[in-house]
């Protein structure tokens, strides 16, 4: 293994998370908060911390069906996240629109607008599922470094 590959293995152990709420009903956001903060599902073991600024982020967690109102803002925030980055769509809304499907006001599925790498379905998904999604995202992120 070369020195750079070793450094990349080390770097992959520090994925910082950033949450984009794209019109979510807050159910998934509550689950995301408990994923990090409740001792039982501690993602800081994997080196993850939530960061306040998109410029610091490595793994983006998008929740919600992407309402028309928030589309431009979400795309702009997404563009501010420096490469390499991995996108995780949390909840069923980013996949199909969930309970908001066929509404005139949502742009789901969101993979028309964002390159989604990992989907975590559920309404809302259980915290272990989100942790598994983050773990899969870390494996993808290592390959992109």
């Amino acid at each position: 293994m070369t020195f750079v590959a070793k450094l990349k293995d080390i770097a992959a152990r520090s994925p910082w998370l950033y949450r984009i709420n794209a019109g979510s009903c807050n159910g998934c956001d509550v689950e995301l908060a408990t994923t990090a903060l409740v001792p039982r599902y501690d993602v800081e073991r994997l080196g993850c911390v939530y960061c306040g600024s998109p410029r610091h982020a490595d793994i983006v967690l998008i929740t919600g069906p992407l309402t028309k109102h928030v589309l431009a803002a979400a795309q702009r925030v997404y563009a501010e996240i420096p490469d390499p980055k991995v996108t995780v769509a949390v909840g069923v809304c980013p996949i199909s629109g969930g309970i908001f499907r066929e509404s005139y006001a949502v742009c789901a599925p969101i993979d028309q607008y964002f390159p989604v790498d990992v989907n975590v379905p559920g309404c809302p998904p259980r915290p272990p599922a989100i942790v598994e999604g983050v773990a899969k995202a870390i494996a993808i992120w290592r390959s992109r470094l």
């Binding site: 770097a11 306040g52 410029r55």
Partner: protein, 320 residues
């Protein structure tokens, strides 16, 4: 002392500054995160996690806003990190050249000023808010630290029969010979004031108002990514060593030398970090900027003033 014969460059870049201090500062940060997780009943990250973070930031793309003033934007983290290399030699094993308390005070303000420059040069409104909050915090805690230093200088100066002593090497040598100031009741108000000062200077939770994630999105650091952000992380790790080391040198230097002295010093820093930083950070919520400002102008300033008056009054008999 051991380092007085070593060239100043080695002291700044290899030991006790530079490489050694960076490793120590990152280890202290890792211990802080691990202990905080344990207090909250979590497992927590590995001890070397801050090093992982810095390596990771090296692989990220560096972005700068169009409206940023690039020389200042990229210069501020560099100046901030480099300013912390020199004072570590001064607080670990001070000699006549590196152990000047007044120079140390000036150097301690440089990271704060680097953060202020970074916030104002980024062109972001959140950075501007962070800038103004950082400035308010500096105005609030700079008064107490000056009075703390004056009280120590008066006490040691009177005890050794001279004018106030602003040389850290003499202060340390006096305490190694006559017992630490920690056990001197006259100094207790000063020590309590210092216990309030150092969480504020290190920018941790009750006083991390300039970099509040939930309010101003990390303020001055908002627009930083990649290597400049890594430099800010290096700066804060080095600053933790300097400020905690200053506390040890002012109030509780051990009368030990060589390897045993080094191990004792490391243990003292660890205890100070875990008790004074981590336990406070986990147990307290963030203050508002006006609350913190009034708090610092009330309690630490009053305690520091009492400390100066007490040091002057109780030392009057022995002064020349």
């Amino acid at each position: 002392m051991m380092t007085s014969q070593l060239p100043i460059l080695v002291a700044a870049l290899v030991f006790p500054g530079g490489v050694f201090a960076l490793a120590l500062g990152l280890a202290l940060k890792g211990a802080d995160r691990r202990f905080a997780a344990r207090l909250q009943g979590r497992v927590g990250p590995p001890l070397v996690q801050p090093l992982f973070d810095i390596v990771k930031l090296g692989f990220k793309r560096t972005m700068a806003p169009d409206v940023a003033c690039s020389p200042v934007f990229f210069g501020a983290p560099l100046i901030g990190a480099m300013s912390m290399l020199l004072p570590i030699a001064g607080v670990y094993a001070p000699n006549a050249m590196t152990g000047d308390l007044l120079v140390l005070l000036y150097l301690l303000t440089v990271p704060g000023i680097a953060l202020m420059l970074a916030g104002s040069a980024s062109g972001s409104p959140y950075g501007a808010i962070g800038f103004s909050r950082e400035m308010a915090m500096m105005l609030a805690y700079e008064g107490p630290i000056v009075l703390i230093v004056v009280a120590v200088a008066l006490r040691v100066g009177a005890a050794t029969g001279q004018w106030p002593v602003f040389s850290l090497s003499e202060i340390v040598a006096y305490q190694q010979a006559h017992g630490a100031l920690l056990f001197d009741p006259v100094m207790w108000p000063t020590i309590v004031a210092f216990a309030f000062f150092y969480p504020a200077n290190l920018g941790i939770v009750p006083f991390d108002i300039p970099e509040a994630e939930t309010e101003v999105l990390e303020g001055p650091l908002l627009e930083y990514s990649g290597r400049p952000l890594a430099l800010f992380k290096v700066m804060s790790a080095l600053k933790a060593v300097v400020v905690l080391g200053l506390g040890v040198a002012l109030f509780m230097p051990l009368p030990l030398f060589g390897v045993v002295g080094l191990i004792g010093w490391l243990l003292q820093l660890l205890v100070l970090a875990l008790v004074g930083v981590t336990a406070v950070r986990v147990g307290a919520g963030r203050m508002r900027i006006d609350q913190a400002f009034v708090f610092f102008l009330k309690w630490p300033l009053a305690l520091a003033l009492i400390g100066v008056v007490a040091a002057a009054y109780f030392s009057a008999g022995v002064a020349p």
